[in-house]
């Protein structure tokens, strides 16, 4: 009975993560969560089994972190929208001074001409200030992140990456933080580039998320049936003495 219950608990956690993914189906730069299953320890069967007959004790789930799949690039035509192609993140600075990483390239200018993210209004790291009165449509952002306003260099977007992006800690406002498991941020490889006037879509594919949800629900049902079956056996066993 505990074996089947362990299976149900694992499926439950997968449903939770699928639910969160579906909620972020239109979040720019969102990376869906990877969930992995494994079987649990095998131990010698109780009475009724010969020596060497080992039984498993169910299944468990483990979150492997976020996918590193590339989301689809969607053209927006907005001069301050940037999409990252390849591995890496934009380095941004949290209000408390910590460095954070994001793939949400929807940028805008704040009141003092500084480049900030659309969600959370976080400053770029290092911060980039454009000359007063610069119109967004006169800003050009190169593939390497160099920003020119009216033909004059105005700064450069810093692209960073970590060794194990799956182990990044996801924060609010679509940002990630480096952890001991992910490694410290370093400069992104030369293959990474930014594209102006475009955004990276969420990697959540409604079709596959829905089919995953259905198969998870069915697996949940099967495990619950197994519990019912074992309960019925206990009932039968109780009926031995009348």
């Amino acid at each position: 009975m505990y074996t089947a219950a362990a299976g149900m608990a694992a499926q439950q956690r997968r449903l939770d993560s699928l639910g969160n993914d579906l909620a972020n189906v239109s979040t720019t730069g969102y990376k869906h969560v990877r969930v992995a299953f494994r079987d649990l320890v095998y131990t010698q069967a109780a009475r009724g089994g010969a020596d060497g007959v080992e039984l498993g004790s169910g299944a468990a789930v483990r979150t492997l972190g976020r996918t590193t799949q590339q989301g689809a690039i969607k053209q927006t035509g907005e001069p301050l929208d940037v999409a990252i192609t390849g591995e890496g993140f934009l380095a941004v600075r949290m209000p408390d001074g910590r460095q954070a990483l994001t793939r949400d390239g929807q940028l805008r200018l704040d009141a003092t001409g500084r480049l900030v993210t659309a969600t959370g209004g976080l400053l770029m790291d290092p911060s980039i200030t454009l000359p007063a009165g610069t119109q967004p449509d006169r800003i050009a952002i190169g593939a390497d992140g160099t920003i020119t306003a009216d033909g004059r260099a105005a700064g450069r977007l810093r692209l960073v990456t970590v060794t194990a992006p799956g182990a990044l800690d996801g924060g609010a406002d679509n940002v990630f933080f480096a952890t001991r498991g992910s490694g410290a941020p370093t400069a992104a490889p030369a293959t990474t580039s930014v594209q102006q006037g475009a955004l990276e879509s969420s990697t959540v594919d409604i079709g596959s998320a829905m089919t995953d949800m259905i198969s998870t629900q069915r697996a949940f049902e099967l495990a619950s049936k197994a519990i019912q079956m074992q309960d019925q056996m206990l009932e039968v066993a109780n009926g031995v003495k009348r």
Binding site: A6, R14, A223
Partner: protein, 231 residues
């Protein structure tokens, strides 16, 4: 007392073990690379020779109950499911990935791998996956992995070790399948077959219970009515 009572009870215990095994299969219906088990019953202490006490002539044999004697794991490669994840690997065909654990090298068909902070390919538990050269597989600069560098070995004497891992003896000469990225092997659990076996097992359990109640009833009659001599 009544031999039949214990024979029926041993059958029920064996069915309970079978149910536990089937429940484990169902719990792992979504576990990548999981291989389903099959248990078989044998009557234990095979046969008791029955002898006619008066004449000494052999009457025949009697089984003394049932036990789960054997568990066999169905190791047939299962279908692969595309996931698109760059670090998901699958063996198309026979063979196992090698993982370096604290207990020594273990083998797995579950390729839901990830990267660690040192840039190595690791399994769910964070243990490094070994390459064909027996050393941990390192990721390319762009975070992908070269499937040709990941080692696959054929095994004999395969046994489950939990956590999706197996123990076994590498068979270097045997042919192995190829490694594919962006896919994982599906679980080998056939849900409908498992469900049917569960129902069958439940019915066998019920039959054992009926046998016990019937024998009990007979004993009750023996003690109640036979002993109750009309005065």
């Amino acid at each position: 007392m009544e031999r039949g009572l214990y024979i029926a009870a041993s059958g029920m215990l064996a069915e309970q073990v079978r149910q536990d095994q089937l429940a484990n299969d169902l719990a792992n219906a979504s576990t990548p690379g999981y291989k389903s088990d099959r248990v078989s019953q044998h009557s234990f202490a095979r046969e008791l020779d029955l002898v006619n006490r008066r004449s000494g002539a052999a009457v025949g044999t009697l089984g003394a109950g049932a036990i789960i004697a054997e568990k066999r794991t169905d190791l047939t490669p299962q279908t692969l499911k595309e996931t698109g994840e760059p670090l998901d690997l699958a063996v198309a065909g026979e063979g196992y990935f090698q993982v370096q654990t604290a207990q020594g090298v273990r083998y797995t068909r579950d390729g839901s791998f990830t990267a660690d902070a040192q840039g190595r390919l690791v399994d769910q538990a964070g243990d490094p996956v070994l390459g064909a050269d027996g050393r941990p597989v390192r990721l390319n600069a762009d975070g992908t992995v070269d499937p040709a560098r990941v080692g696959v070995v054929a095994l004999t004497n395969v046994a489950k070790a939990g956590d999706g891992r197996y123990t076994g003896t590498p068979d270097r000469g045997a042919e192995t399948g190829t490694v594919r990225t962006g896919a994982i092997e599906t679980s080998g659990v056939d849900a409908s077959r498992t469900m049917i076996e569960m129902i069958g097992s439940l019915r066998a359990f019920e039959a054992g219970q009926r046998a016990i109640t019937t024998i009990d009833e007979t004993l009750r009659l023996a003690s109640g009515q036979v002993g109750n001599l009309p005065g």
